[in-house]
């Protein structure tokens, strides 16, 4: 882990985004914002993957964040971007706090399947809830920033700027966390839980904490995505959405807090390009890429950077 370099690189990326943003085409701004939103979810998944855990249902928290933001707009008329993102984060974190008591006891496939089941429960609930638009979902209010609605030409840039800032802070926060004793416990939990217990630490507690952090990040991402796209629907909780997040997580690897965002961006680019070239083969491209990464780059794309640095 390039411990010292990450904060500097993150700051650099932030500056570039903020400076170049006003000159970029609208679709680029949109792509970047969505990449940041998904990157946040994957940042959380990375924390769990370092412990050896893969959640097959992270879309649960992504969806909770999105619906929290949407519902605050629909029922309370709130549209401030910061408030909505914070609300999404809080709602997801709360849910994870409770569910974590159950989930932190499981490992391997069972952790994955249980998280999957929980996300599908939310999906099933939302699809049948007419007040929330059932499977159609509903539209999200246009965002405002501190009470002001930016001019149409500037909206996307404004949202991207906020997203970049939030992602920067989140990435730094997680980076710092990885330096703490609990953060460093992850590879130990993955390797030998008995030894962790005998060292005087509770693996279950550590996993619960990471689970809540991951959920908070996913909720944050979900709220961001909801306001960027302008629409939410139960599909956000479906297993295929979770699958997308897992795909990006594997693609990115666990090498650095920058990796999830890079992975999300690459995913977005592949998705857009492949879909544009041939709408009926983009999934195939995705599947093939996933296979290639798993077989040849098991540590994710980030391991390419690390190898270069070592050489």
């Amino acid at each position: 882990m390039s411990a010292g370099r990450a904060p500097f690189t993150l700051a650099l990326i932030l500056v570039v985004i903020l400076a170049a943003g006003p000159f970029a085409p609208q679709w680029t701004l949109f792509l970047l914002t969505i990449a940041l939103a998904k990157g946040l979810v994957v940042l959380g998944l990375m924390l769990l993957l370092r412990c050896g855990l893969v959640s097959f249902g992270q879309a649960l928290y992504y969806c909770i964040g999105a619906y929290a933001a949407g519902m605050l707009g629909r029922y309370f008329g709130m549209s401030d971007l910061f408030t909505l993102m914070l609300a999404g984060m809080a709602a997801a974190a709360l849910a994870a706090l409770v569910l974590g008591y159950l989930l932190a006891r499981y490992r391997g496939i069972f952790f994955g399947l249980l998280s999957l089941a929980l996300s599908m429960i939310l999906y099933g609930l939302l699809v049948k809830t007419e007040a929330l638009g059932s499977s159609d979902g509903f539209h999200v209010l246009p965002s405002t920033l501190f009470g002001v609605r930016p001019a149409d030409a500037w909206v996307r840039y404004a949202v991207l700027a906020v997203a970049a800032l939030v992602a920067f802070v989140a990435a730094l926060a997680v980076h710092r966390y990885l330096d703490t004793p609990l953060g460093k416990l992850a590879p130990a939990i993955k390797d030998n839980e008995i030894r962790v217990e005998y060292m005087g630490a509770s693996a279950r507690y550590a996993i619960h904490v990471k689970y809540v952090i991951a959920a908070a990040l996913a909720g944050l991402g979900g709220a961001l995505a909801a306001t960027t796209v302008g629409h939410i629907d139960p599909e956000m909780a479906y297993w295929t959405t979770s699958g997308e997040f897992i795909f990006i997580t594997i693609l990115a690897g666990t090498g650095s807090v920058i990796a999830p965002f890079l992975g999300a961006l690459i995913f977005g680019i592949i998705q857009t390009v492949a879909f544009g070239l041939s709408p009926n083969t983009w999934q195939m491209v995705l599947g093939a890429s996933l296979l290639v990464v798993i077989v040849f780059l098991p540590l994710g794309l980030w391991s390419l950077f690390r190898r270069r640095k070592a050489a």
Partner: protein, 269 residues
């Protein structure tokens, strides 16, 4: 000399098998105690009960006057009882140094130091040094300095044993329970390894309990010997006395008896 650890009336059975039957042991501070007995005699069950991995069916365990019978392994470690394993429990994908750093991190965490909002390099309780230095020091003390950056899973057997014990010492336990510290180690190395362990550990004034099958090692390093058989303690005393006890000779030492008598009467090289 007050007892640091006191087990009273411990009883444990697994269905029809009685692994421990009315075990009463008072361990004195600063002593070195050897546990002997054939496989299945109850030595490891005894260790497991002390460290909270198993709960006794009956009986109590007191540590420094406090009842610890119901505590979980991680709490047992936190209050100062360390345990090493017959099969070294290491973090396979991490280097020896990183293994130590994880252990030190846990100690810091339990002491409330090095958390998210702390600044600078926190000092490890008991050593008053930053984490990296404590790791280097312990690796040195156990002769592991040259293996610092090698992954745990590629280390040779004896080295893994030492690393396992070094990890346990991170928390500066007051009592150290060693489960067969020289098993899996070649005959020539046994004494050297045991010397190193005992020296490194006793420097801190730690009370030591070790399970051992090699009677020469036992008689050389233990100040007191407990012999187990069939879930009971059949002898308890200084090595010369316990190892010559007729029941012990019959059930534990067996054929090694003659050789042991001869070895003991010969001057040590």
């Amino acid at each position: 000399m007050a007892a640091i650890l006191d087990a009273q009336g411990l009883h444990k059975s697994f269905g029809a098998v009685t692994a421990a039957s009315d075990i009463n042991v008072a361990i004195e501070r600063d002593s070195v105690l050897g546990l002997i007995g054939t496989n299945g005699a109850g030595k490891t069950t005894f260790l497991n009960m002390i460290t909270g991995y198993l709960k006794p069916d009956r009986g109590r365990i007191h540590y420094e006057g406090r009842d610890i019978t119901a505590l979980a392994p991680r709490d047992i470690t936190r209050i100062g009882i360390g345990r090493s394993f017959q099969i070294p429990q290491l973090y396979a994908s991490l280097s020896a140094f990183e293994n130590m750093m994880v252990g030190i991190g846990v100690v810091l965490w339990n002491a409330g130091r090095g958390g998210y909002f702390s600044r600078g390099r926190p000092l490890v309780p008991g050593y008053d040094l930053p984490a990296e230095e404590v790791a280097e020091r312990l690796l040195e003390r156990f002769g592991l300095a040259e293996y610092r950056d090698r992954n745990a899973q590629v280390l040779p057997g004896g080295v893994r044993k030492l690393l396992d014990i070094a990890l346990t010492m991170v928390a500066k336990p007051k009592i150290l329970l060693l489960d067969e510290p020289t098993s899996g180690v070649s005959a020539e190395e046994k004494f050297a390894i045991m010397e190193m362990i005992v020296k490194a550990v006793r420097a801190e004034g730690t009370t030591v309990l070790f399970v051992e099958h090699d009677m020469e090692v036992v008689s050389r390093f233990a100040g007191r010997v407990l012999a187990f058989y069939d879930g009971r303690i059949i002898a308890d005393g200084p090595p010369a006395q316990a190892l010559n006890d007729p029941e012990v000779k019959r059930f534990v030492v067996g054929g090694a008896l003659q050789r042991l008598d001869e070895a003991q009467s010969r001057p040590r090289a």
